[in-house]
Symmetry: C2
Subunit: 713 residues, 2 copies
């Protein structure tokens, strides 16, 4: 069964109150130790020495009477109360029995550090299924296994074994949810650039709590304004989308890095957290649709999240490039152009002011090359940057710093930080040099979070501006219905078309004939010219077996074609069951597009749209959306492929009936929605798009369901 069905199946996913996990009154450490360097002793130290924990700590050890001046318990069962959180620092072999004890004791949350489960193969996966079972039966929520724990830095609380917990503490507005531990800590160490993380959850193999649960928690946490995430797999696609949309509705952007987008990556994540990677293209399409900002690497995740934490974009921001190196400015302007962003146009007032303060060989239009003069005359740097940042057309200032000049760049850094204190316009410094001098430190201290390359800066900027343009139809949620798992049925073309036609999808006028006379009768009714196609669920490529005849202009041609088909098909495919011949009115000329629906194992039903033909296939020029489709989403789907230009009439071509195409897509969506549990695959290829005002018509239809369609209608 696909993950789309796990909610119904497990009952574990939903709106979980995690407040007593991230801010517990009582914590039990099972496997506490005082052996230096052991996981048990580090976990104790992180809670008791390096946290501001004011609740009750219970240490459970079979061998020790006291640890860290606290009495030890033999078992979690001996505790005087049900703990909010139990940390399991126990070997893999004991994990299940200790979890059972925790459940029995009424523990609210169990954090399992231990590795060696799903990532090891089938046996580990069985143990994980047992863990999930323990959780389901008791109501205890499980975090992990194969997890480094979590930390609530806004409250200085560490439920983790890492020796670095005490070093990587820099509170802030970012809520971080990562599956893996190492790359989560990578993010925390961006504190060196002034990036603050309020809460970090690293959910490991996710037998119960997932990244999605934390996204939802962060959405409700007032101290968190931006959510950053890395995922190896998405355990429950609809729950993830739901959480992302919930966050979006609360004004909190989600920035995400999805690992496992190539075959190699998918193989690697399977051996790391035992995750299933869905199709990368579907994943990216779903992210876009849910307002999740997708990034490609850890530095981009950090750069982008940090930029969102500084200011919310409107989507209308235009960029100023300012610097003291002509080459750096040119590189910056180039990158702005290549990223599809726009340079701001300065007002006359700004230009006059910049011209007034800078030397006459400076470039004053955007980009502003203030020249190296500002290295020795900081005040003209300050004045001109201030004027640029205050220009009404400037949404953000990109400031490339090519190299460090010690005290000279220190003064510049301080003056930039000064300007930033006085303006609302974000200034994004690009510290291009590998020498991180005192100027860099000034920028970090000023909260400007320097990025490391012009490419990184414009990549973050592009994502920031684009997310500013994202619009969400309040309340929209993906279908998220699991497959019924019923018998696979391949419907014949006339059946599929009839079902679709009932939902308002335009199909050609037609009828099924089992004699030549019937074929002629249908043709007379629908009007010539007609096309004849053999009806058989077993035959996918009807032309290849002589099962198609097109452009039949009169009764004689229909009759002849009918007989040809009835002879050719059984000869070519004696195995196929033939249910007659479909006689259809031929559509007039237009542009052919394809509309497909498939059931993604992670996210559920996805619609794919593109132009027909081999070239489009070569370029993969299609768009995708999770169903259901609103009319606005359908229109965006149509406009997204580059080939959409043809539909709108490019180079003298006639525009197609896009409105009718949008209607068709919405009706296809309604059909799938009405039969969500059974529709596994639907392909309309081609859909003929006639000239504007003349409609569209689905010329072919393949429908595959899991069980009968009628049963669900």
């Amino acid at each position: 069964m696909g993950a789309a069905g796990s909610e119904a199946a497990t009952g574990l996913v939903g709106r979980v109150d995690l407040s007593r996990l991230v801010n517990p009154s009582s914590v039990a450490i099972i496997g506490a130790s005082d052996r230096p360097g052991s996981l048990g002793s580090r976990t104790v130290a992180n809670l008791l020495d390096h946290s501001d924990f004011t609740g009750t700590a219970y240490l459970i050890s079979r061998s020790k009477k006291t640890i860290h001046d606290l009495p030890c318990y033999q078992s979690v069962l001996d505790l005087p109360e049900s703990p909010d959180v139990a940390l399991l620092v126990v070997p893999a072999a004991q994990t299940l029995s200790v979890l059972r004890e925790c459940a029995l004791k009424g523990t609210r949350f169990a954090i399992v550090f231990t590795s060696g489960f799903g990532e090891m193969g089938e046996e580990g996966k069985r143990a994980e299924a047992e863990m999930a079972q323990i959780g389901r039966e008791s109501g205890m929520r499980i975090y992990g296994p194969n997890s480094p724990g979590l930390c609530n830095l806004n409250r200085r609380l560490g439920l983790m074994f890492s020796p670095s917990f005490h070093l990587d503490q820099f509170a802030g507005p970012i809520g971080l949810a990562t599956q893996g531990g190492g790359i989560g800590r990578c993010f925390l160490q961006a504190m060196e650039r002034g990036v603050g993380v309020g809460l970090w959850a690293s959910t490991g193999n996710e037998v119960d709590l997932t990244v999605a649960d934390f996204i939802r928690h962060y959405a409700d946490d007032d101290a968190i304004t931006v959510i950053a995430s890395t995922m190896e797999g998405v355990k429950d696609g609809p729950a993830f989308v739901d959480a992302a949309l919930y966050a979006a509705e609360r004004g909190k952007p989600v920035i995400a890095l999805k690992v496992g987008r190539s075959d190699y990556g998918a193989r690697a994540v399977a051996s790391h957290t035992g995750s299933l990677s869905g199709a990368a293209e579907v994943n990216s399409a779903v992210f876009r649709q849910a307002g999740v900002v997708e990034v490609d690497d850890m530095d981009e995740l950090i750069d982008t999240a940090a930029l969102f934490a500084r200011k919310r974009p409107t989507g209308r921001e235009r960029i100023a490039v300012y610097g003291f190196s002509g080459g750096g400015c040119a590189l910056g302007a180039d990158a702005v152009g290549n990223a599809g962003l726009e340079l701001a146009e300065f007002s006359d007032k700004t230009l006059a002011r910049v011209r007034e303060v800078l030397p006459d060989y400076a470039a004053v239009a955007n980009p502003v090359d203030a020249t190296s003069d500002i290295l020795t005359r900081t005040e003209i740097g300050y004045e001109s940057l201030r004027a640029v940042a205050d220009d009404p057309d400037v949404g953000l200032v990109l400031y490339p710093f090519p190299c460090d000049y010690e005290e000279l760049t220190e003064a510049i850094g301080a003056s930039i930080a000064q300007v930033q204190r006085e303006t609302e316009t974000p200034i994004l410094p690009v510290w291009m040099s590998d020498r991180l001098g005192p100027g860099y430190d000034e920028l970090v201290k000023g909260g400007l979070v320097p990025v490391r390359s012009v490419r990184n800066g414009t990549a973050a900027l592009r994502r920031w501006v684009e997310r500013g343009r994202w619009t969400h139809q309040e309340g929209w949620r993906p279908l998220g219905v699991a497959s019924s798992g019923g018998e696979r049925i391949v419907h014949t073309e006339p059946t599929a078309k009839e079902l679709l036609g009932r939902h308002g999808v335009p199909v050609p006028a037609s009828g099924v004939a089992t004699t030549a006379d019937e074929a002629v009768a249908v043709a007379e009714r629908v009007g010539y010219p007609v096309v004849l196609k053999v009806v058989s669920a077993q035959i996918t490529h009807k032309s290849d077996v002589g099962g198609v005849a097109v452009g039949l202009a009169d009764a004689g041609q229909v009759r002849a074609a009918y007989h040809r088909i009835r002879e050719a098909v059984p000869a070519a495919r004696p195995d196929a069951e033939v249910g007659g011949v479909l006689v259809e009115a031929m559509a007039s000329a237009g542009l052919d597009v394809l509309v497909g629906v498939s059931r993604d194992p992670v996210f559920g039903q996805v619609v794919t749209f593109g132009l027909g033909g081999v070239l489009v296939e070569l370029f993969g020029d299609v768009s995708r959306r999770l169903l259901p489709l609103t009319p606005d989403q359908a229109r965006a789907l149509v406009d997204e492929p580059r080939c959409a230009a043809l539909l709108h009439g490019v180079r003298g071509g006639e525009p197609g009936d896009v409105d009718a195409l949008v209607d068709l897509l919405v009706n296809v969506s309604r059909f799938v929605e009405a039969n969500a549990a059974v529709v596994d695959e639907l392909e309309l290829n081609p859909v003929r798009v006639l000239p504007a005002g003349q409609g569209v018509v689905a010329l072919d239809a393949v429908l595959v369901t899991a069980g009968s369609v009628e049963a669900t209608q």
Copy 2:
């Protein structure tokens, strides 16, 4: 006149011996000073205090008797000898007169720091033209203006005014040539990662010496093994290509960042160094053809050059990903896949060894997740990494480091450096964290040049492997012939086809008719069906004016069509001169492609190849090469677009006659070569590619020349 003509015009470009510029016996500083912080005093200090300069220094100052314990001269004319190099630290207004004095004195090289010339506009450009004139007339070579000077770090010599010269000294095998100064220094500061630069030239506005001259010099310098470059414009395209190929022939890869590839960037470089940016697509195509590795940002330039400096690629390298973070390894494997690189397959011996030393929950196939166990057990990290690096299928090990763990990662860093000392296989560490701890330092000390992100690592790797596959036909050079500048002539279709036909380009059998009888006679000769097209140099779109008739099957149809055309065209275009009607045999069905030649203002004649039709235009799916084309280059040109799949027969389509298409391209190239000074534009659109073995035929031809073609034949 285009830059392609500057060699002939200026006589300045060619093989310049720069040895006395980069290693002078005598240096004159004109505008020497002892005022602290002045350009003059910093230039003196850089030469006398911070260099190991053993030649003679002459200081020229109008106001001082001695500086730095050396006597000052009033003028360069007073010197006892002709200096090898004169450094001009003088205001813009004095530059020309001082340059004249230098020339008069027999100075070999003049370095002009001063800004405020070509980048300021027309007046500055005129001053630059005068500089060039002074150089041409005297033989003195000019470096700059608007340049920070140059430094020869392999000999510790600085001919520059920068206050950072003494800090940024880390000799090494990279020869660096940048137009701008700031981004050149950015590269030097990569010494913090262990990147060593032997020589850096920053050529500024390039009135004479260009980046290309330094590329050629580095190619001949045994201490330089890799050449890195940034360019805002290419002053002389053919000279640049020639230098790049010269370097390639000497086994030295050139890595280049071209700024000014977007409209914004092009505008910015114009105001920075007054450079002209050619078309970005042409630039990239020329780089590829000349073996120049193009990068997109400064960090990529550094990462890529540093990797080439470590080892030369064969193009067959497969990659191992190794690390102690499962997430980091998955991200690395993902990036390898997304970059189109291949993961190595370990031998059984490697697998057995890795399995033997690592814990059983480690992932031992590629990628290797050695787990955090190696943080505390460095020896198993060493042993397993050693086994991976020694595997015969491993060409390079990518080692993602997600975060710093102080002394733990220090020990890991040291052990990686140890493995690197013992193996030829490069290990490329990715230091993902913003905390640069002692482990980072160990990697730098070991010469492993850590990159900052998985994306950066795989980007460098991809370029490295791809360059390993590049092959060059020894001796090939671009045409590099300037336009004759003659009168613009648009040739009629029959003239163009006749000229091409003489060079072996297949064109339809045809004749021009001026009466209906003649038209029929030609049709009878070439065979039906035929096509008729009006002949007129003024009419580009013949169909639009009723000037075309296709599929004419007999004399009657030809006659009727002839009269229709002779009536319709004058009615639609009374201004156009009509030279009769072209009667051509119609080609049979095939795939239509386009072949175009245009004269790029920077690089000269470029051929463009792609499939015809509007979709290809939407996707910009074309390939380009500088002319002339060898048969191998022509074949690569055809295979490069994604649409090439159609020519080779995709999804049941019939393969086209690619051999004949290659012949046509080579013959087009020969035609252009034979008429290089006059051919400005040639478009064969479409060329009909018939099924394999049946040839190709150019169905249409547009030829625009600068002056008469015959004159050059």
